[in-house]
């Protein structure tokens, strides 16, 4: 199902860019995590879900993606 795959790829890009921009996700840490037991993307997703009062799963569920696609201010929610 190519359409679905494309959507998933697009969503993955949206998630990555969103977390980089607003939650200070470092792509180097994703590639080479300091702690092998924790995934930086999951941790940042949890942070974002907590901020927006969503169910904290660390997974990019529909509600999380909905918030990520909403128009917003470009200032990050958290600081490095």
């Amino acid at each position: 199902f190519p359409a679905g795959l494309q959507t998933k790829e697009q969503d993955a890009k949206i998630i990555q860019k969103y977390l980089e921009k607003f939650y200070d996700l470092k792509i180097d840490e994703v590639k080479n995590p300091k702690n092998k037991n924790s995934n930086p993307v999951t941790e940042k997703l949890k942070e974002m879900q907590e901020f927006f009062g969503l169910k904290v799963t660390g997974k990019p569920d529909a509600e999380t993606l909905k918030i990520m696609k909403m128009p917003r201010c470009g200032v990050p929610d958290v600081f490095s």
Binding site: F22, F51, F52, G53, L54, K55, D61, A62, E63, I67, M70, P71, R72, C73, G74, V75, P76, D77, F79
Partner: protein
Amino acid sequence: FAITEGNPKWDKNNLTYSIENYTPDLAREDVDDAFRKAFKVWSDVSPLTFTKISKGEADIKISFNYRDHYDNSPFDGPNGILAHAFQPGPGIGGDAHFDEEERWTKDHKNYNLYHVAAHEFGHSLGLAHSSDIGALMYPTYGFNDLDNIQLSQDDIDGIQAIYGPSNNPVQPTGSTTPKACDKKLTFDAITTVRGEKIFFKDRFYLRKTPYIPEAEVNLISLFWPNLPGGIEAAHEVTEKDIVRFFKDSKFWVALGTNVLPGYPKDIYTTFGFPKTVKKIDASVSEEYTGKTYFFVGNNYWRYDERRRSMDAGYPKLIIDDFPGIGSKIDAVVNDSGFFYFFIGTRQYKFDLQAKRVVAILKSNSWFNC
């Protein structure tokens, strides 16, 4: 609220701003007006003042920009990121940039410049994003009110934590965001909408969805951008797939999330209320009989949706036909043959067949608190 890391702030209270360029989306005077009003939102609740200058370097420089505008934070075209602003400081500090590829408006259409500007100026003054959905400093765009931004107490606490209280002898107060499990929670109105219940309180709605454990709280404007806050009564007419919203002597009709054109209309012409009725306290519609009940003070009216007229013999006293229900109902909603009357923090489950109250519940019993 959150203050920008490092607590940056202006070391003076009298700040200047300049408008470096104008968007073609609006008349120049509308842009000026949007920014002036946006600054006023903050000067009303703090000791800060803002003066527009056209010569010399202003503390807060405002501009509309496309894509990469050489500040290391390029814009992304239509939607997405709408604007950004820098924390207090010299040079670029305090400056506010707006994405020129957005359509800027002075009404409820996306995106209202006054509203976005008021948020950005919060950053210019040292505020970071708040996680309070009702706060102006919440990071996503949610349109509130055409004329006046109602700051939440959270915003006021934030700005006053940085700059101190307002010089006004009467300290301003803001709205608070309702919490579903607050024991003191009361509602303005409740309606069903295509199978689910929506509860209204001030600028917000609450609803229980299967996706999240707690009730969802969000701005009414998210679903119905052109509805005002403070809806006083609402009901769904399932047969027509419409929802009616009432405030003062006006009402709006929505089909799904679309408020139909031509509204608001007055309640007198459409429903035949006498002019003595200034507002509707609560309303509910019954699918099977096609009757809609309007509760006003200690009286109620019954409207026939099929004949499109008020039934004869009304108003009647609420107490006569709904024994156990006092006057002045906040909200009412129907569910499985019962009317649920909300009065203050209590909820009365009324059996329409037996004509009696069968249970008294807390107002927020629907939220699994």
